[in-house]
Symmetry: C2
Subunit: 198 residues, 2 copies
């Protein structure tokens, strides 16, 4: 009842998410969002609330679309995929996405953690939630690999999982800092052999 909304909410939220991804939080003004989303100022506030609330919804969308996609090789692997293969597939997939042109934007959550982490408790919560999810997925795969006897020197799986995450976050940073994709790829390969050789 009442006048129907003339735009698709999720489509507009996706545009907002990409704009935050590209420009950061502070550098994205409400006017930028109005122009990019193509909806009126009032409609923007009426639909998504204020800037921070809008960003939280954008971050949730990122988690739902981008982050979940990165986890797929670990969580949605075909039955019978070894733990080792799940990890290698995860790294290959992450490497491919990171080395694509759009990978130069880095990771929205990493960008925002550094820019806004001190001021946004909800962002911190979302971030730690994602880290825990990824850590558990990696640890589970490492445990499987250990039991399958796939890794040369099965290490402390918790430590190894964190180590992989550390490397990936480091590479995301270097990609955004301007390191050439070829060098990024070589580092992924280095990490993969390191995992396999203990």
């Amino acid at each position: 009842m009442g006048r129907p909304t003339a735009f698709d909410r999720n489509e507009k939220l996706m545009l907002a998410m990409k704009l935050f991804w590209k420009q950061g939080y502070e550098r994205t003004s409400m006017q930028d969002l109005i122009d990019t989303l193509g909806i009126n100022r009032f409609s923007l506030y009426n639909t998504f609330g204020d800037k921070q609330t809008l960003f939280h919804q954008a971050a949730a969308l990122y988690q739902e679309k981008v982050f979940a996609e990165l986890l797929r090789p670990l969580l949605d692997a075909p039955p019978g995929t070894t733990g080792k293969d799940r990890i290698l597939n995860y790294l290959d997939n992450a490497c491919q996405k990171l080395c694509a042109p759009s990978g130069a934007l880095g990771c929205l959550m990493q960008n925002m953690a550094l820019e806004r982490g001190q001021d946004d408790a909800m962002l911190r919560t979302l971030l730690q939630q994602q880290h825990a999810t990824l850590e558990n997925a990696l640890k589970a795969a490492l445990e499987d690999a250990k039991n399958e006897d796939c890794l040369a020197t099965p290490p402390d799986t918790g430590q190894a999982a964190c180590h992989i995450m550390t490397c990936v976050q480091g590479l995301i940073f270097f990609r955004k800092a301007g390191t050439a994709p070829d060098k990024i790829r070589a580092q992924f390969e280095y990490l993969k052999t390191e995992i396999q050789n203990g």
Copy 2:
């Protein structure tokens, strides 16, 4: 000749650097700088130029004071220090600084690379210069270690140097993202054993 400046320029620049470090670029307004440095608005512009110019000087000071200090275990080691020890000392020193309370601010250059890298060519140049310096220092130490036969399986030193940098950058990120210092320390230990065991 003329009226002498009533403040110490380098002291004020240090305050500005720390403020950028703590708050980021966009979130630090000229008014913040005026209040924190304790000098007048006009004096600020007269002494340091506009905001971006001031930041460049702050970044140069960071390189001179903070970054150079991190490099010391690698470049200013006592004669006879093995390559392996130089690297382990570098990591221990970095770990200690990162796990201190002030380490929660992360690394100014990492923060700025993510926030301003796209818009500030001079920052990019400074960043790549620091990366190259660190990479060369690590590579040289790894070469020495290789010749001294200190490392179990001497790897490609260039790749290994980049790998260490990747891990350190990743850990700086996690520290700022709220990971507990104990966990950071454990990761540094993991990296150290990894280096020693090939």
